[in-house]
């Protein structure tokens, strides 16, 4: 028994305090309980998503009910830009994450149903103004701020993931407003069209819709 107490002392348990009080092992109970604090997790599908098209005749067209959504770098032979950008937003309030929570990871995933024919870098920018799914167009698209990026590869039917932990922590705490993210090619106006598409929230297979997975300590 004494050996056990000594071992516990080395491990820094409460035995040391007890011993200093003159308490012996005959009336002492000690346990070391190995237990991490489990993370709370919230998984969301978008509350809104859409894409916008820069082509002259499409700049005022809304694609809010469409699946898939698209990201494209392109221009016409006349050097007129015809890029496409996508927008996604998640209703974080449905997670009921406390404002003071510590967000450990936040991962944004999209299912790439059609990869570009060339590997592209898509910027995933935090949107800085409000928008709505059935109103947004190229002409009225909101502004955005740099956040992160993802490389597409050239393989279709894969999931792309981006870390947006910092953004989500700010959304939860209220220091930034959650207007979702914008996907855009990092080098727009490609002479050869580089188009990629990912499933939207309207897609029938739930598992292929965009997701935002937030792990946090309340």
């Amino acid at each position: 028994m004494l050996a056990i107490v000594a071992a516990s002392l080395l491990l820094g348990s409460g035995v040391g305090a007890a011993a200093s009080l003159g308490i012996t092992s005959t009336n002492l109970t000690t346990y070391t309980i190995v237990a991490a604090v489990p993370l709370s997790t919230c998984t969301l599908t978008p509350s809104a998503d859409s894409y916008v098209d820069q082509a002259t005749l499409q700049q005022n067209t809304n694609f809010g009910g469409v699946t898939p959504v698209q990201v494209e770098s392109s221009q016409t032979l006349a050097l007129v830009s015809t890029n496409k950008r996508s927008f996604v937003m998640f209703n974080l309030s449905s997670c009921s994450i406390p404002a003071a929570a510590a967000v450990q990871t936040a991962t944004l995933s999209v299912f790439l149903s059609q990869a570009p024919t060339q590997n592209r870098t898509w910027n995933i920018n935090r949107v800085t103004a409000a928008w709505t799914e059935n109103v947004i167009t190229w002409a009225n698209q909101p502004t955005s701020a740099s956040s992160t990026s993802v490389t597409t590869g050239t393989t279709s039917n894969v999931t792309l993931q981006a870390t947006v932990t910092s953004n989500v922590q700010s959304f939860v705490s209220g220091s930034l407003t959650n207007n979702g993210w914008r996907f855009a090619d990092s080098v727009e106006d490609s002479a050869t069209a580089r188009n990629g598409q990912f499933r939207s929230r309207e897609f029938g297979t739930v598992a292929q819709r965009p997701t935002l997975v937030v792990n946090y300590y309340p």
Binding site: G12, S13, A17, A18, T30, Y31, T32, V37, P38
Partner: protein, 123 residues
């Protein structure tokens, strides 16, 4: 938030029962492990712990599964990190019933806590 408690046999090989889920927000729980050899004067079948967090930090530890024989004893907890270094402590509190919640100070980040040393002296 869904809460759960896992419980494993302690080093002495005795079974322990599942603890009731807590309704406390930010609470979490863990399993009884064998990080050190237990001393079992008043409780022989192991303990469970449930963390309560606020702002991502551990604010208290609820110790469950305390044997009735421990009533009246003095209970202390030490929250440890993965290297078994103390990061917070709480108590002493007098055991009353089969579970006891102890506030800890300071309040370590949830990601830091890897376990709890529980010491029950007496009765």
């Amino acid at each position: 938030m869904r809460l759960f408690t896992l419980c494993l046999a302690v080093a002495v090989g005795l079974p322990c029962s599942l603890a009731a889920a807590s309704a406390l927000q930010g609470a979490s729980s863990g399993l009884v492990g064998n990080g050190s050899s237990p001393v079992t004067a008043c409780d022989t079948d192991g303990l469970t712990v449930t963390y309560t967090t606020s702002g991502g930090n551990v604010t208290s530890v609820a110790v469950g599964g305390i044997a009735v024989a421990c009533n009246g004893a003095s209970l202390r907890v030490t929250v440890i990190d993965s290297s078994r270094t103390s990061v917070a402590s709480g108590g002493p509190v007098t055991v009353s019933g089969t579970s006891q919640t102890v506030s800890v100070s300071p309040n370590p980040a949830g990601a830091t806590a890897a376990g709890v040393d529980v010491s029950i002296a007496g009765p």
